[in-house]
Symmetry: C2
Subunit: 145 residues, 2 copies
DNA sequence: TTGATTGCAAATATTTTGCAGGCAT
DNA sequence: ATGCCTGCAAAATATTTGCAATCAA
């Protein structure tokens, strides 16, 4: 099931003209399977377990290709902005667990129109908005008790 | 008028136990007066015009103190997260011009409750949210024509 | 006077680039 | 066979730390 996503991503990368190498497969697999935010070093450490010859540089370069292809997005948090997560399809917003890094998307409903109006009051032509919720996921809530 | 903010900030820094030096006054002045996002290097370049002896390191350290004191916040954007801007008082959200970096706060109304509910559906206890609008300010819209 | 702050230099951390060899196409 | 991709080393960037001199309190 998650492998479907991996195959879909590899196909998209190939269509974009990138070559499907072993390091790429491993890195794509890690990011496709994870429901947690991952930074390049974290991806690198996981990748090394599968193939110790993989270098950090390759992780950076592969992440860049995946970003270009729209498969993953950089996620910004108060304490850092080097983590990545699947892109959403359509206009969704992130819900992030500040304890463990787990993340989910949710539908933003029609907030866009409201934001347009807000911006207009200040003379801005709003073309994008950015919404993230920070909280504690169910598992981390249990762990705290 | 903007000087009032500067004096207010210096007072708060002093109350926090920090010493009010000449470099600090200059850096506080720059950040208090700006209605644009500024990164440490930009602050440094402006500060040098007033006192060429100021070092970049001092800018970093002063920004840190101002952040600790809650006077400024780090602002995250798709292409970078090293810019700073006045903190808002109360729960407000940023409206940023992607062309020139000009920024404004606006009231978020009672979105918090809505976000709590959204997060609850995924088992999250939402404790914070982050909303930013990106657009083009009136001046930049004129410039484009 | 006293110790926090400054500014220089150096250290660290993070990300990018150059290049020779390897591998997908 | 061609040229993109990899992994190493090195470079470039961004930020932090050590330390002696300076300056606010």
């Amino acid at each position: 099931m998650t492998d479907l996503l991996k195959i879909e991503w590899l196909t998209q990368l190939q269509n974009k003209g990138f070559r499907i190498t072993n390091p790429m497969k491993i890195i794509v697999d890690i990011l496709a399977k994870s429901n947690h935010l991952l930074n390049p070093t974290e991806v690198y450490l996981q990748a090394k377990k599968i193939n110790p010859r993989i270098g950090l540089v390759t992780v950076y370069r592969t992440i860049e290709k995946m970003e270009q292809t729209g498969l993953i997005d950089r996620v910004h948090m108060p304490d850092g902005c080097q983590s990545f997560f699947h892109s959403s399809d359509g206009h969704q917003h992130l819900l992030i667990c500040t304890a463990c890094g787990k993340a989910n998307y949710f539908e933003g409903e029609n907030l866009g129109q409201f934001f347009q109006k807000m911006g207009g009051q200040f003379g801005y032509d709003v073309h994008d908005h950015w919404l993230q919720l920070f909280g504690m996921c169910d598992e981390c809530q249990k762990g705290k008790e």
